[in-house]
Amino acid sequence: MSTEIQGSSLFAITDNVRRRNLAEKRFRAYGLSAIAVGIIALIVLLSSVLSNGSGAFMQTYVTLQVELPADKLDKQGNRNVEEMKSVSTFGYTPLIRAAVVARADQLGWGMPDGMTPKDMGAIISKEAAAQLRRFVLANPDVVGMTVTLEMLANGRVDGYMKGRVDREIAALDGNVSPQQLDLVDLLVEGGNLEKRFNFAFLTSPDASGQRPEAAGLGVAILGSLYMMMIVLVLALPIGVAASIYLEEFAPTNKWTDLIEVNISNLAAVPSIVFGILGLAIFINFGGMPQSAPIVGGLVLTLMTLPTIIIATRASLKSVPPSIRDAALGVGASKMQSVFHHVLPLAAPGILTGTIIGLAQALGETAPLLLIGMVAFVKEFPAAPPEGFFDPASALPVQVYNWTQRADAGFVERASGAIIVLLVFLIIMNAVAVMLRRRFERRW
């Protein structure tokens, strides 16, 4: 053996070296392929979400002249809004139908066999009647006039404009017929129908299964925002205070050890457990309302606290003891040394941990299932603090809700909502990375 080593040279590769080099090459290949698999999965996920969901950000609108006959909408003729309310949305649907028929006639539409005015009116969203009623009740003076109204097109018509529905599908589909698509083509030629960016997707509330075209994320975004506010206001101070005490003041004994173990343990508890806890404590025992952001916020606070405490303690630990010693040396009290010197230096790390905890809470669905937030909520919650107690939805919950709906239009909406959620998460994580890059100090 020894003679072999003596006789070897750095330039002559022995079997042993070759084996080791090969092992390293293999290891690198493993690493590369692991990363490649990850990237491929990400690309597949993103491209499927983007191709399904980008359609949600465009929407087809129909602009028509709608006649508002006084004898239908205001029988007393005194423009009294309270009395005009007796005309329900079902009373407004025929007006919209008439508007479609009138415009089609102008454009020279020959009614095909088997098609009724009702079928023609069906190319407009059911939301339009509600929109028209709201408009008339807000402006009672327009009764008796003809107004130009921009309305949503029916979900299937919207699908046709986006290429999701074609004549072959329409022939089989019970909710749309090829004749209706002919009418749509005519209205496109007549300049009444156009597709454009859909701000309403971000601002309008959810809609029922018959109106995928009108469904939006407004309530969900607001609900998520409220919950994040609650989490931030509660989890950050509690988490930071707890960490400072544990890290800087608490004696090391079996009690603090126990607490430490528990905190690490809680960070790994499945989130659904927090939902069960929230249902039992906040709703059943505390008597808080169902489906409210306050309960969601409290549950997510409990879930986020361990994350924040662990991150905060890590960043407090990374502040060198010399800083504390120097502060104490010039006569600062223990508390002064912490609040004047240690905490500011640890702040970037604390903020990063908090933002990552918030991002995690934003995407959480399971605990919200149990506290009644998976619901059809159409009404916007009021401004805080009362709004914290009003029913609301949340972004991930809205995705879950929409994937369960029967109409194919909601698949597009759900993917669109995923895109919105991803954008929020990317922004939050980018801010966390930026803060860390900018303010982090290394010793």
């Binding site: 329409a170 609040f339 619901a375």
Partner: protein, 348 residues
């Protein structure tokens, strides 16, 4: 120090506001996922046409909804439970225990259960006995009970296409499963005469016990993967059908009607399911849908009675209303139901 003060005051405000009484203005509804789309349509229209806020509609299943409904009386509990089956005596008792005694049952119409497959695949025309023979755990062959030997649809019925048996049926937590077992599997079991074989083999002291055992034997399904329970929604069944082309799924009529471009429906007992054939009772597989109102909340939660009346009004639940358009089979006795709802909670 200001940081600490701020924290303390924020906590104080949060604590104070959470204890403050917060009067509930909107109606809270929970229950069956089958009724959910209809309830959402009604809630939306209700919010548009009345000055009351739009009700909040939660899903979660009939049993879960009724359980929540029976938790008690007061603002912290829900006002309406949706159910795809009638309330059980056990649940009425549980309700009464918690002080929920005034329960108003409202039948909103009927839901058809349909058998559908990929539109590009073979067409089927079923009898209940075909489903029993295809899915049952044991069948009678030459007078002997044997483990289900069939693997192809044309083996159970020569008129059916030559296709592997592969079915996706609702899981046991769904109300739909009960109807499927009752109206299809059990009906098929009786039609083939296998029921009598089971009855002869059944053990029990009374005729009733033996009958129960025979029924249970009829509806126990094979576990070799030819039939798969779907615990999720119909969207999941649809996804499985698309990924397994030669398969047949069990859907609600409303779901099928929203997806006629990808699914073809199979007639059952020679009748094609539609709102008309279900309303007349010709199509055999259907069930009533209900919602339950907490009588004690009428007059307390604003708009509750108006919501119930609006739900069963002709323009909503009638044959030309939006619910029928979505796939609900309108109740032929709607006028009686309207009268019952109008009378509900009058004493309060």
């Amino acid at each position: 120090m200001t940081f600490l003060k701020l924290t303390a005051s924020v906590l104080a405000v949060a604590a104070a506001s959470s204890t403050a009484a917060h009067a509930r203005e909107q109606i809270q509804v929970a229950g069956s996922s089958t009724v959910l789309p209809y309830a959402a349509i009604v809630a939306e229209a209700f919010g548009e046409n009345f000055d009351f806020p739009t009700p909040v509609v939660e899903s979660g299943g009939s049993s879960a909804g009724l359980k929540k409904f029976c938790e008690g009386v007061g603002e912290g509990t829900i006002d309406v439970a949706n159910a795809s089956r009638a309330i059980k005596d056990r649940e009425v008792a549980a309700c009464a225990e918690n002080g929920v005694t005034d329960i108003v049952e409202v039948r909103i119409g009927y839901d058809g259960i349909v058998f559908a497959s990929d539109i590009a695949g073979n067409s089927f025309e079923f009898q209940p006995r075909d489903w029993y023979l295809a899915l049952s755990e044991q069948v009678v062959v030459d007078g002997e009970l044997v483990a289900n030997p069939y693997t192809m649809w044309n083996e159970v019925n020569p008129d059916l296409p030559e296709q592997e048996i592969q079915a996706f049926i609702p899981g046991t937590k769904h109300g739909t499963r009960e109807v499927f077992e009752d109206k299809v599997i059990l009906a098929g079991c009786e039609a083939t005469g296998d029921y009598d074989t089971y009855l002869a083999a059944a053990e029990g002291d009374t005729d009733k016990a033996r009958g129960k055992a025979a029924e249970k034997a009829c509806i126990s399904l094979r576990t070799d993967g030819r039939t798969v329970d779907i615990d999720g929604d119909y969207t999941e069944t649809l996804a499985r059908i698309i990924s397994t082309p030669h398969s047949i799924g069990v859907f609600g009529l409303a779901f099928y009607e929203n997806n006629t471009s990808i699914l073809q429906v199979a007639p059952m007992g020679g009748v094609v399911p539609s709102t008309e054939t279900i309303a007349t009772g010709e199509y055999p597989v259907s069930r009533p849908l209900y919602f339950y109102i907490k009588g004690a909340h009428v007059g307390v939660i604003p708009g509750l009675k108006e919501y119930a009346e609006f739900f069963v009004s002709d323009e909503i639940a009638g044959p030309d209303g939006p619910l029928a358009e979505y796939g609900l089979v309108s109740d032929p006795e709607l006028a009686d139901i309207q009268a019952a709802v109008a009378a509900a909670g009058v004493s309060n």
